[in-house]
Subunit: 572 residues, 2 copies
């Protein structure tokens, strides 16, 4: 292809709205353009990269026995009523009516639809297992779409669904997908980690996320530094060994005046206690009413764990008004004693023998509070947020943490959807049994952004060969000069004929502009045709390392081929 | 692939709702399943065919210089307000609001969005011409979705948009696309015809439709039987030579009583006149009010022509109430004399010298009516529906007509969208000029259905090799029998290794079921491994002709390869 005819609108300025590298660079290098919040057009180079990722995903899905299908984006509400998710999904679900007033949504995922399909078409154990997948648009009306392709409202996803006779079959399908995902993310060039994950709105029991490690990631992963242990989990889901340390010594409960002293740290300092001796009481609003959650003063509540424990759809910290109404005191003085709300008590709180809690009146706390004696501890659970340094739940070593971009997630769904949508089969003995399901997603456009997060420098993107929009750029420094133009054309045509994806920068631009654009777009290999053209020599330059070599035109094909095959191709 | 593991749910019964062959057969052969009216899932075989058509389209678009991009399906209303089409599109446009109450639609087409993109990115004549295309879902909330993939509400389309400096450039882009479309529809195996077309809601001046000829088609094409003339047009757009025949002789106008005589045929019979001497008056309702359209009694009004002539968005025959209110008479007695509505007079009406028209009172007509003398003829236009036998507008030969499925349409848009969305460029002299646009669509899923309409028989589909889901089926009559199984596996593996798309029917089904399924699905070539397996012989059978040959296993690869290359491959 000739760059002069291609739409690759590079920008010199850094777009103001772009906070992370992938967003900034994909805009600047002319891969994407914004249409509305969280909604993007893929320009020619962006579409090429996206198609390459799709093809890698497709190959690995097919290799694992997947069959590609294509389901509608427009989904009838009726299916979602059957699974009970029409109500659950809340404002993230784009909803609309057709001309006859029938309700539809834009599919954020396709469990309902595919389960209904399989329920209609599969009758016998002979038809199982079945792995069906598709690649297409998904829709989630995010409250805060941001970071370009990292969190969009319209995005491209691969979703595969597995259908097995039993849990053993599901384990096998799950293992196949786990391995396929590992191959995919390796092939696209990501540094990633598979971690235990919460199952969220999709449901099911076991789940793993594939996290591309990157500072821009919105997820936090904690992991054990001991690779033979290998524990790693999304912090939303992560556990750690609970502290069994007994804190304080039992004594008679006492009311103390604490004027304007609110946070656990303030209370601890004011009372001269360690922070961990404070028991924090947080009031949450849910669709079932208010709830109080208790954790040690040096801990944070993990809202995902709390939400799962309560089985509620909505959970957020109650506002000041609600807190005052429920406790009779301004925020900072809430406590479990005499509080007429359900209490969820974190496990570690049980080991605090003389805690300090808010007194549910302004400017007052209780001290020497003993859980069980002074307030009820019927509802004890792990609702604590794990953080770096906490002991690994498997081996006790201090956990490390890192930020990640969730590029894939796999779920063992079991029979949640098959029962709801009536997907049963007859086994060898003619008995009717629910089909056991799994589901497996990869964010295609998000993967593209994750690759950029991991592969860039000050000058621009550095595409891994496997997903580069073009593998090679031929850059004549001055296209107007005959020797340069002719040699550039010769090399361009030679490489094209060999099936190499090569772009020729035949624009009448200043050399500086061309070099800057080449680095910004991030072609893995640049062939510069400049002042040595007359001698039949060109420069090969690796975008990743900046290494470069002067080679004669006769060697170009061999060197380029070696590079694309990942071989050592130049020395000295 | 092994059929035992694939989801190909064939149906023995004919689905009741399927009126046309493609709908019936795509359902029965397990290519598609309905999710809601006009909304379908593509099953594995359907997805394979669809991808093949997409790839042929993609190759030809790239060959013509197109660059693939991907625009969002969710389109902000704002863009549509700018073009004025938010109002125009009416109930066919799926509309929705996001969580912030902002208006969006699901793109039925992308002129607005791509013009806004190009307006932002193209500044100079150096960046033109530009051909941008995408392949993806489109949405039209049809009043009557029907015929399976032929008229859906969600469907796959390829849409390309051309951007040129001037009309000469547009002509060149248009010619390239015309040629690319001709190659595409030839490659997918369609018998088609390019015809002149109305530009409809898309707008613009010149347009052609590519019509796959088929009885199931909703469109009617008229064409000149003389191939050197070559005139062909959608009947919505078609013209023919106007009749210059003078009908009747001038005389004094006269009121006659015509009790209960309403239709042109009835009036003619009652008055003893030829039908062509009657002048029909039809009352239409538009958003600008009522209008009367006049044609000869032996002609029909072409509502598309009338609508274009009036420049209205809505046009439909007025109901009885409106007709009575406007004319003072029940339907059947409307006429132009004394009628206070705008009159549109078809050209041929001018040659009626003594017409009969309704008298705008019950049971009465006027005779000896002379247009111009007895009613005004300010607004004369061609609003007549052409029909078979009418004289070709180019050469005068009687036109023929045929039904067709519109699989593609191309438009010369000119500057309609570039002016509305501010897409200008600077020419060589630094002058600002509007970009001249064209747009070019292909219905991918509709093309799939059109192929089936043209390629099927009583037993099922007969796929052309280029778009067949698999090119070859290996069918062991009894997979349980070792010699058959082993030979079938051997041939299957041999063909697979050679990159041939082959499916092995390894199911434990009765031979009759396997043969019926093979014919229903329509694999172009079947290799039956039966009782001659022990001698190392198999039967090759062509789905299209039913011809078959017994060949030894050593010959299979050569024969199959010859068949796939379109060569004569077996004789005798």
């Amino acid at each position: 292809m000739r760059l002069s005819t291609w739409l690759v609108p590079t920008l010199r300025e850094v777009p103001a709205e772009a906070e992370v590298a992938s967003h900034r660079l994909l805009l600047r290098a002319g891969f994407i353009r914004k249409v509305a919040a969280g909604i993007y057009t893929l320009l020619p180079l962006g579409k090429r990269v996206c198609s390459k990722i799709e093809n890698i995903v497709r190959e690995e899905m097919n290799r694992a026995g997947g069959q590609e299908i294509l389901m509608p984006i427009l989904q009838p509400a009726e299916l979602w009523h059957r699974s009970g998710r029409w109500e659950v999904y809340g404002p993230e679900l784009f909803r609309l009516k057709d001309r006859h007033g029938r309700d539809f949504c834009l599919g954020p995922t396709h469990e309902e639809m595919i389960t209904a399909l399989v329920a209609a078409e599969v009758r016998s154990y002979k038809q199982l297992p079945l792995l069906l997948y598709q690649i297409g648009n998904k829709y989630r009306d995010e409250r805060r779409p941001r970071f370009g392709l990292l969190r969009g409202r319209e995005f491209i996803m691969k979703d595969l669904y597995s259908f097995d006779r039993d849990w053993a079959g599901l384990e096998e399908s799950y293992r196949k997908m786990y391995e396929a995902y590992t191959r995919i993310f390796t092939r696209v060039g990501l540094n990633f980690r598979a971690v235990e994950a919460d199952t969220g709105a999709i449901g099911g029991s076991v789940s793993h996320e594939f996290m591309a490690l990157a500072e821009a990631g919105e997820a936090v992963v904690v992991y054990c530094p001991d690779t033979t242990c290998g524990y790693a989990a999304n912090v939303e889901k992560a556990e750690s060994l609970s502290s069994l340390e007994e804190i304080g010594e039992e004594g008679p409960i006492e009311l103390v005046v604490t004027p304007g002293v609110r946070s656990a740290e303030e209370v601890a300092a004011f009372l001269g206690l360690p922070v961990k001796q404070i028991i924090k009481t947080l009031i949450y609003r849910t669709e079932k009413g208010l709830v109080a959650a208790l954790v040690r003063g040096d801990r944070e509540v993990n809202e995902v764990k709390l939400q799962n424990h309560l089985g509620v759809l909505e959970l957020e910290l109650a506002g000041e008004d609600l807190v005052e109404e429920a406790t009779g005191a301004p925020p900072g003085f809430a406590g479990p004693i005499g509080l007429s709300l359900p209490l969820v008590v974190d496990r570690e709180v049980l080991h605090v023998k003389a805690g300090a809690v808010g007194a549910n009146r302004p400017d007052a706390h209780y001290i020497n509070v003993l859980p069980g004696r002074d307030f009820p501890v019927q509802d004890v659970a792990d609702i604590r947020q794990v953080s770096e340094g906490d002991p690994c739940p498997r081996c006790g070593r201090p956990l490390l943490s890192v930020r990640g971009i969730e590029v894939g997630q796999i779920f063992q769904l079991g029979d949640k959807y098959s029962r709801a949508l009536n997907a049963y089969y007859l086994d060898e003995r003619g008995e009717k049994r629910p089909i056991i399901m799994g589901c497996y997603g990869i964010g295609i456009t998000r993967t593209m952004a994750a690759v950029v997060e991991q592969h860039h420098d000050e000058e621009g993107i550095i595409w891994p060969v496997a997903v580069a929009p073009f593998q090679v750029l031929v850059l004549p420094v001055n296209y107007e000069e005959a020797p340069q133009r002719e040699l550039a054309e010769e090399i361009y045509n030679l490489l094209r004929e060999k099936g190499i994806e090569v772009l020729l920068d035949d624009r009448e631009e200043r050399p500086g502009v061309k070099f800057k654009d080449a680095d910004l777009v991030g072609y893995p290999l640049r062939i510069t045709v400049g002042r040595h053209a007359a001698e039949g020599k060109v420069e090969l330059k690796l975008r990743r390392t900046g290494e470069n070599w002067l080679v004669s035109k006769g060697e170009v094909l061999e060197k380029v081929t070696a590079f694309l095959e990942g071989k050592e191709f130049c020395t000295g």
